[in-house]
């Protein structure tokens, strides 16, 4: 019983560690995908997923460091990962990312 109690005391730490390991593994696998490709869209999607993983990582860090100062970072990663993925997608689709006025 005491074992379980001491385990529950540390449950947050243990969960954090498991999550860190999971995210690290996920990052490593995504890195493999970014490097090997073989096509550009696959790389782009992998980079986007890395961004999302980083959001998670930043969230875990703020729990680990017991701070709220990193919440801005999390939100910003969300926006920027979206934007850059969009830009890449548009580039891959059309060759440009800002259309010129045609009139």
């Amino acid at each position: 019983m005491t074992n379980i109690l001491t385990a529950t005391d540390n449950i947050l730490q243990i969960t954090l560690m498991i999550s860190f390991i999971g995210i690290a593994l996920s990052l490593a696998l995504l890195l493999y995908r970014v490097i090997t490709g073989p096509t550009q869209p696959e790389r782009a999607v992998a980079l986007d997923a890395i961004g999302i993983n980083l959001m998670g990582l930043a969230g875990l860090m703020s729990i680990y460091l017991v701070t709220t100062k990193l919440n801005d970072v999390i939100l910003l990663i969300g926006i920027l990962a979206f934007l850059s993925t969009l830009a890449i997608a548009k580039y891959l689709e059309k060759g440009v990312i800002i259309d010129r006025d045609v009139d």
């Binding site: 970014v34 490097i35 980083l54 930043a58 990193l70 970072v73 934007l83 850059s84």
Partner: protein, 771 residues
């Protein structure tokens, strides 16, 4: 005295305005009065009771560079030569140069030269002396290149400039060493500290440097090569600069510094040996020439060698003979150059092979020439001053010492003088007697206008007066000049006949052998195919000048390839080697593990991912792939900032990362496709070595810097006072806008400038079609 030095320069400023009047009045007429008045002014100093005069004017007192003028006997001799022959040359040039020439230029250069030369001989301050010395080089350069449309003129001007400025610079080195040793810039004060200089370890260097200056200026072997090429100058210039004044500046320098170096044996040996060799070589080469002025140029070289040798002997008799010969040489050589100029002017050629039999057509010129050439040859007639100085020279070569070389000197002197005799006779008889071949001449020869004859006539009168009355100026003038060089000199009466003694026998030998050699000249002329043959110091000079250009070109082309890749590897490689060497020598590698923090699992994981991504970037073949892989590194940096508790920087990093990706994508359209590297394996290994080495260097520096912390960080101050003084909780932002706001201001300016530059680059293109 200072006015005498500076007035020519001052007048030179007005010459361009005066030369506008040249249609009415030859510019030279205005110029003539300047040297003449200077001459009259200095003549008034001559006298038995002459004592040195000193004048001082401040110029740069803090550096000890002052306008110190010192007029002693030696300076007086040179000043009178410069101003006296200067007046005669200006007079001659009035008739020699027609009004269609650029007279303004000519007289400006000539006055500049005159001023510089007066400055050289009157300066007591070594640095002022050097200043005027270089001014003579520059004005001589301008005068030699006066007819700059001729290729030979430009070549000669450049050559004389390079050689004399080379010597001048080394002389400056000698002067600086002298200044370092003695602590004074005044020559007279240096003479007072002779012991200090003689005991200095720099003595050989000082002597070498100063003599190099003197030898190049006075055209001593092997630096004589510029003088024959300087004959491309107008004849008045050759007569003035390259026989009477500038080439004697080196002699003046040696004479001026004789009291300092006379305690040092090497000085005498070097100066005598160079002088004797120059005497013989110049006389020998002179016989070979076919151009009147070239003969005179080599003759000048030879005579300068003779005077240099006498200064080198340094005995009482030799010093007096040297001073006497400086005066005599100026008279007869000046007149001979003017005669050569007249012949050139009236016949249109200076080639002695085309000339001949001019005596009947140009009797006055021929008479002038006969005095000049016979005096130069040292023929024993009682009305030629050249004979007296030659005999004094022979006298001074005797009894120098009992070793082999001292014994050999009289023989070498006679040998040189025999050739002097031969070319002198050749010069006269080749031009004025013999076969008449007037049809070959470009102009129909006739006697020169009287104005042109005045100057050489005055000089020849000088030759005869010094010949008839050799003692006329001894006590009042030459004696003072000689004592300035060697204070123990007391002049002896010079007489034409003082018994059947060795110097007289030597003169007779010269005349005898000389006559034989002159008459059989055609027979032994082929000897020149053997001795100088193809060997020439001109080739050495040309090779050096060309080689320097070629080698410098090759060196520059070797590393200035125009390839940024090469420059980058050069910069990084050099930084790498120099920094590593420096750290190694100063023992800068410090490894201290005291202050290291613990490493957590997640940091390791993120850094590993970044390393893999960074290495993978190099191998990406598509530019979008490359930018995406680099993006991983960028994200990694951002998350490292998060881990190290720097949210503001993480935010900025993320935004910049994204914008960079977008910018890359924007311009990918215009960028070339990534290609497989085509570098050779050697280059690849080289690049890899440099990049790995540089990375290692930066790592080493970072570790060393972290390990050797010398002072406490000031971070605590910011932590304490951010709220109290800055009124904000966010320390980073308080530092950026409050504590260190100035940095931020200029970072903003940088961004503004970058934005404007981008707008400028895109909008204001000259070549709109290039889009």
């Amino acid at each position: 005295m200072i006015f005498a030095v500076l007035i020519p320069l001052l007048i030179a400023c007005f010459i361009p305005a005066l030369s506008k009047l040249k249609e009415k009045l030859h510019t030279g007429i205005f110029v003539f009065f300047i040297p003449f008045l200077i001459f009259l002014y200095f003549v008034s100093f001559i006298g038995n009771d002459f004592t040195p005069i000193r004048e001082q004017y401040s110029w740069i007192p803090s550096l000890g560079i002052n306008f110190d003028l010192y007029l002693d006997g030696l300076s007086l001799l040179f000043v009178l030569l410069i101003s006296g022959i200067g007046s005669l040359v200006v007079l001659y040039s009035i008739y020699y140069l027609s009004k269609s020439e650029r007279l303004g230029h000519f007289y400006v250069y000539l006055l500049m030269f005159m001023s510089a030369m007066l400055g050289v001989v009157l300066s007591d301050n070594i640095f002022v002396l050097y200043t005027f010395w270089e001014l003579t080089s520059i004005s001589s350069f301008l005068l030699i290149g006066y007819w700059h449309f001729k290729e030979r003129s430009r070549y000669g001007a450049l050559k004389s400039m390079l050689i004399t400025v080379f010597g001048g610079l080394s002389m400056l080195g000698g002067f600086i060493l002298l200044y370092v040793v003695t602590g004074t810039t005044s020559i007279q004060q240096m003479i007072g500290q002779v012991d200090l200089i003689l005991n200095s370890t720099y003595l050989p260097l000082i002597l070498g440097f100063i003599l190099l200056g003197a030898f190049t200026k006075s055209a001593q072997f092997p630096f004589h090569i510029w003088l024959p090429d300087a004959m491309e100058a107008p004849t008045p210039v050759s007569a003035y600069l390259h026989s009477a004044t500038m080439v004697k500046a080196g002699l003046f320098l040696v004479a001026r510094f004789s009291p300092i170096f006379s305690g040092y044996e090497g000085f005498f040996i070097v100066v005598s040996v160079f002088g004797i060799v120059t005497l013989c070589w110049g006389a020998y080469m002179s016989v070979r020439q076919t151009d009147l002025k070239a003969i005179l140029a080599f003759s000048t070289i030879s005579q300068l060698g003779m005077i240099m040798a006498m200064l080198g002997f340094g005995t009482k008799a030799a010093v007096f003979a040297a001073v006497f010969h400086i005066l005599n040489h100026a008279t007869f050589k000046g007149s001979l150059f003017m005669v050569a100029g007249i012949v050139d002017h009236e016949t249109g050629t200076r080639d002695i092979r085309k000339l001949g039999g001019l005596a009947t057509l140009m009797p006055i010129t021929a008479t002038l020439a006969i005095f000049g050439t016979f005096s130069m040859a040292g023929v024993p007639f009682p009305f030629l001053n050249g004979y007296y100085s030659k005999e004094l020279f022979f006298g001074s070569t005797l009894g120098l010492g009992s070793d082999f070389w001292s014994q050999a000197i009289p023989y070498l002197a006679v040998l040189g003088s025999i050739f002097t005799f031969v070319y002198s006779m050749y010069l006269f008889f080749g031009t004025f007697t013999g076969k008449k071949q007037f049809d070959q001449l470009p102009k129909k020869p006739h006697e020169a206008p009287i104005g042109m004859l005045i100057s050489p006539m005055i000089l020849v009168v000088g030759v005869v007066i010094f010949g008839l009355f050799p003692n006329i100026v001894n006590a009042s003038f030459l004696q003072h000049a000689a004592t300035a060089i060697n204070s123990t000199v007391v002049y002896k009466e010079i007489t034409f006949w003082h018994g059947f003694i060795t110097p007289f026998k030597m003169s007779l030998a010269v005349v005898g052998f000389g006559t034989v050699l002159f008459l059989t000249r055609k027979k032994w002329q082929p000897v020149y195919q053997v001795l100088p043959g193809k060997v020439s110091f001109n080739h050495v000079y040309d090779a050096i000048v060309n080689k320097i250009g070629n080698v410098a070109n090759r060196i520059t082309n070797y590393y200035m390839t125009g390839s940024l890749k090469t420059y980058m590897s050069l910069i990084l490689g050099t930084t790498l080697i120099v920094s590593l060497l420096f750290m190694y020598l100063t023992n800068g590698f410090a490894f201290n593990t005291d202050q290291l923090a613990e490493v957590s699992f997640i940091e390791v994981a993120v850094v590993l991912i970044m390393i893999v991504a960074a290495i993978a970037t190099i191998y990406m073949n598509h530019n979008v792939a490359a930018i995406l892989v680099v993006g991983v590194v960028g994200f990694g940096v951002a998350i490292l900032f998060v881990i190290y508790r720097a949210p503001d920087i993480a935010l900025t990093q993320l935004v910049i990362e994204t914008i960079t990706v977008a910018l890359f994508l924007l311009c990918f359209y215009h960028l070339p496709k990534l290609r497989k590297s085509t570098d050779s394996a050697k280059t690849k290994i080289m690049n890899a070595t440099i990049s790995i080495g540089f990375g290692a260097l930066v790592t080493l520096v970072a570790i060393s810097a972290h390990s050797s912390r010398w002072f406490e960080s000031i971070a605590d101050y910011f932590v304490e006072n951010s709220k109290k003084l800055g009124g904000g909780d966010n320390i980073v932002n308080v530092i950026l806008v409050d504590f260190r706001g100035l940095d931020t201001l200029f970072e903003i300016s940088v961004l503004g400038i970058a934005a404007l530059a981008i707008v400028g680059l895109i909008k204001y293109r000259k070549n709109k079609e290039a889009e």
